[in-house]
Amino acid sequence: MQIEKAIGVELRGAAKTYRTAGTVVHAVRGIDVSIDRGETVALLGPNGAGKSTTIDMVLGLISPDAGTVSLLGEPPRDAVAGGLVGAVLQTGALIRDVKVRELVAMMAALHPHPLGVDEALELAGLADIADRRTHKLSGGQAQRVRFAIAVVPDPAILILDEPTVGMDVEARRAFWLSVRAFAARGKTVIFATHYLEEADAYADRAILMSRGRVVADGPTTEIRARVGTRTIRATLPDVNASELASLPGVTSADRRGEEIVLICSDSDAAIRALLDSRPDVRDIEIASAGLEDAFIELTTDPDGTSAEAEPQEALV
């Protein structure tokens, strides 16, 4: 019992396929994820990786075709009915013709054990605009309102689906401070993001998805270490990327205009071999891999095509 209680969110073999006229999209292809209570986890991946479908399954908005999803040991819909879940969804506009405080208070009234309305407003940094109408807010303010209605139920699990898209740097920092303050209450937080630095700065752990699969799952530091330890960048026209990929110590090679990018398991061997075979190489930089390189590496297929290049469909 004790062990079961410690699990916040669990997906076992969860899969979802969309079928529309003539096309079949395997949005999520059977993933196993277990998130402990109190963890803050980033869900990363290019568009179409299956992040949003995964989040919708966790929230019970869609049912998996196969596998199971549970929140604190309960099916998502039961957890939602019990007021255990709060979420900032990707949406267009806030509902109109209400004041911020009225909206937050109504949300509180729908839940069995909410925070105080003032507490939620304070947490979201809305105390000074609580009497404004929702359609007169800036983008950053509207997003803080979404955050307030996500936390006012005092949920055990908070889900954020690309919550800072379109915010400026300052608003983003303020937003994450609020998230941190809420997570510090022992809450489980899962957020999907495109911004790798957000995962780096605010998550204990990152889950990388690509083409409906989990391609990496662990502390951000560990994911970085999983990848080739160094990246070599240099200017070198007139050479095939595939030719470079066969150099010793190189795990993958990519061409960006005149620039080549070599991701290396052994950059010492790679740079010697490169200089031997192509003395005309210029502007050489060798750097340790960042999370971004890990991201590209792990979400790119062995044949060199990025998952991003896949045709997308609307639902994922």
């Binding site: 949003s52 929230l59 019970g60 908005l61 869609i62 939602v80 009915a81 019990g82 007021g83 879940v85 709060g86 979420a87 969804l89 990707q90 949406t91 267009g92 506009a93 806030l94 509902i95 109109r96 013709d97 209400v98 009225e102 109504m106 949300m107 009234a109 729908l110 839940h111 069995p112 209605i149 139920p153 609307a314 639902l315």
Partner: protein, 245 residues
């Protein structure tokens, strides 16, 4: 308690929306005075046995109530587009409570239209016994049920930008073929078709002034059948609609 919290919220939102109120309450009232005031002394409109003020009072209550109830669909469609319905689905709010709020708000708007038009009708000399007023109001309330359900159905089928013309056109058409603007008489093609529309029976609530029963058993059956069929479709549309819009 929770369902009432959401209903209260919807009422506040709706009655704060000035433009919505002006158009949905103002139009039937203006039309009523334009049509009925010059003919206020006509006591037998086209041989129907009903006075013009009474006929148009009920006709425009029907028009206003249909618009008000079906337009709750426009608000649902907008809320779906904005992602608000998805947000509500991750709260403990039950679908029944959500629909109660929508229908309740639609009825509240229709109720205000009705009160304003009753007052205007009285001003133009409509006179009925208290029992007849009650009977007429009861029939209007019942005949509005299918339109409340239709609003929910359309709100889940159509998008925010297509529902406006759809609702406007539908209400105009229903009003026309159901006798809102002129009595349909007792035979003929239009009359025969109209029998099968709940809006026809809505308009026929004014027949209470003729004595006897304003509705036939067929009328009750038509209203009940539309309600059940539309409710089944609305439920299906709601359950299907979990995707992002």
């Amino acid at each position: 308690m929770r369902s009432l919290a959401y209903t209260r919220f919807e009422l506040v939102r709706t009655f704060r929306n000035g433009r919505l109120l002006v158009f949905s309450l103002g139009f039937p009232l203006i039309l009523f005075f334009i049509i009925a005031a010059p003919n206020r002394n006509e006591h037998n409109f086209n041989g129907s046995g009903i006075s013009i003020p009474l006929y148009y009072m009920v006709g425009l209550v029907a028009f206003g109530a249909m618009s008000g109830l079906i337009s709750s669909g426009s608000r649902i469609a907008t809320e779906r587009t904005d992602g608000w319905t998805r947000q509500l689905r991750i709260t403990p709010l039950k679908p029944s409570a959500y629909f109660f709020a929508k229908v309740g708000t639609g009825y509240a708007l229709a109720g205000v239209t009705m009160i304003l038009l009753y007052a205007s009708g009285l001003a133009l000399g409509v006179s009925l016994g208290a029992g007849r007023w009650l009977e007429m109001t009861g029939l209007i309330v019942v005949a509005c049920i299918p339109f409340a359900v239709l609003g929910i159905l359309l709100g889940h089928l159509l998008t925010a930008d297509s529902i406006g013309p759809a609702v406007g056109g539908l209400v105009s058409l229903l009003a026309l073929v159901s006798g809102t603007w002129f009595p349909l008489g007792s035979h003929g093609f239009l009359h025969d078709v109209a029998q099968f529309l709940p809006s026809y029976w809505l308009v026929r609530a004014s027949h209470v002034s003729l004595g006897g029963q304003a509705w036939t058993a067929g009328g009750w059956l038509v209203v009940a059948t539309w309600t059940v069929v539309l409710a089944i479709l609305a439920r299906y549309a709601y359950l299907r609609d979990t995707a992002r819009v």
